[in-house]
Every structure is written in structure tokens, then in C-alpha cells.
Symmetry: C2
Subunit: 156 residues, 2 copies
Amino acid sequence: MAASALSKVESVGVNLSNALEDRGLRRTATRMTVTGRIEQLNGAFTAEQLCRDLPGVGRATVYRTIRHLVDAGALCKLPILDGAPMYSIARIEHHHHTICSSCGAVGEFRHSTVERVMRSLAKEIDGDIVGHRMEIFITCNSCLAESATGKFSVHV
Amino acid sequence: MAASALSKVESVGVNLSNALEDRGLRRTATRMTVTGRIEQLNGAFTAEQLCRDLPGVGRATVYRTIRHLVDAGALCKLPILDGAPMYSIARIEHHHHTICSSCGAVGEFRHSTVERVMRSLAKEIDGDIVGHRMEIFITCNSCLAESATGKFSVHV
DNA sequence: TCTGAAACTGATACCCGGTATCAATAACTG
DNA sequence: CAGTTATTGATACCGGGTATCAGTTTCAGA
């Protein structure tokens, strides 16, 4: 792969507990448990999955903590058609997602051309552009190897 | 606006009943009622809204008909963060959506550069690209005039 | 270190969007 | 017309998520 407009996302030091504290929330043991689990998950997850992983933490608390993290901008909420939204740690400020339509793996990427396109669209769209969202549906390499069948619906 | 890579969507003759019939479904009076209402709505709508508009049609039937139309590719299902998905008639084959974050109005557009970007990304993303989705969040002109406050959440 | 206020937690009930079920009805086919 | 198949809508149900609220924890200040 040559040098290009695409930037892969590198694992930067993300500290979800700090993100909560920065919003004036207390650093409690329960929240450390939740954020710790999210950090070790190393990928996108659903709220239910987190509840299953942390049977010692109440359902409401898991959902509340996720909501706080989304509000803090530390987690991205990805709307998946026909299913529960997935969450992933926002490692970079503005980015887009790749979603494997077979296994659901989520990746982040930046591409400067996408931002350039947005600027050119700004002149031509009626109204003020306040944001955008872009997801690329892929079949990831490991699923290609297994040639698995689709699990998530794709709106093309 | 000069000639550009952006194409506005024009109202083409869409016939939702035909879309259903093409899939081997019967052209019943109830379905005509539902599709007729969607066609006269002239914009994006939610399933609940359609149910309210058609009190004479059962909830299950409204949802079933919408599902059939989505399966037929005649309706687009737009995942809205924190809320019921919206549906809009797919007037052109492949397109993207503008969503007014204030009033929720949905528009369609095509932009050839977006497709070019996708092709260039194809070389650089790990895995096979099987589709993509892009939404542009705007404040539409009429909301700008009223300077209304945001109604839909925006993931930027 | 105590003490009171405020924040947090988790069990629970609830809400909402959407779907499965199923008996009754409508639409086709021969 | 008779039989078969599709459709309908009332209903119960499901799953994701939130409001409530009593009990617990945390923290600031005395």
C-alpha cells in the first residue's frame, strides 16, 4: 500500500474513565469495571454483550455508562439496520467506519478525500451542512477466508 | 448552481404497487391504500406516522407492507440514531441522503465524486467493499429561516 | 472522623418499535 | 362453485432501552 489519503487508525492511549471524570462524573468501582471491559474488548460491541460480560453490574448501569461515554464523545454509536446499535471507542476525532457485513467487525478510517468531497458538496446542497456520516460495508479478510454468509443487512 | 458532479433527484414515476406485484404479491385494496398514502406523502416518514394516517389499516399490515417495499428496493430505510427509522421512496438506484437535523426532512442526491472516492478506497481497505452508506446532516433552508433547534442527533 | 448532601447503583416496572401467531377473510385457480 | 393460498388485523409477545426509587456509596465541610 502506497502513501495515500487514507489514514489507518492507531491505538492511541484512550482512557474512558478519564472521559467520564472530565464530565464531572465520579470515578466509581462499577464504572471502572465497565470502562475496563470496554477497553479490553478491542473492537465494537453491543450493550447486551457488555451486560453478559459483566453479570455483576446492573443492566441499567451498563446502559447509563455507555450513554455517558457517547455523550462524552469517547464512544461512537453506530446505527445498525435491523439490530441493536454497536459502540466503538472513538480513537480519532472525526472518522468513518468499516463494518464487516458478515462478522460485524468495525474499523475506523479517515480519508482526506471524503472531507474534500464534503466541502465541494457544501456549495451545492440546499441548506447548511452540519455533519455527515459514512459507513463502508465490507467483507473482512478473515470472513473472506471462511466465505461466511451475511449477518448484517446492507443499505447500498 | 453550475453544472457539476452533483445530481438532484427528480420525481420519476414511482409505482409502489407495481413493485409489490413484481415480487409476486397480490394487489389488494389494503395495499393500495398504504402505497397510495406513501406516494402522496412526498417525503420521508416513519412507520408510526403511517399508522396514524391510516387508522383503517392494521398496524401489522402497515409494517408488513413497508417491509415488503424495502425488500423490493422501492423504499430506503434510514437508521436514525435514537429514534424510529425513517423510510423514503427510492427514486434513483444508488444515492445518498440529506437529513435536516432540525425538522427531519430527507432528500436524496447523487454525487459522482463519492463513487470515485469509493473506488479509490477499494484499493486501500482491508477486505472487499460490498456497499456503503452516507448521510449528510443539514439545516434545511426553511429551518434556517426559523432558526429552529435540533431534533435529531448527529453523529459527526 | 463524623455528618449531611449529592451521586450512584441495581431491581423493577415500564415504554416503544416491531414481529409472530392465528382465526377470519379475500383472492385467485381450476 | 370449491378448494387452495394469500392477506388481514387483533392480540400477545419480544427486545432494546429508560424512568423510578429505595438503598448504598462518595465526597465536602465541620
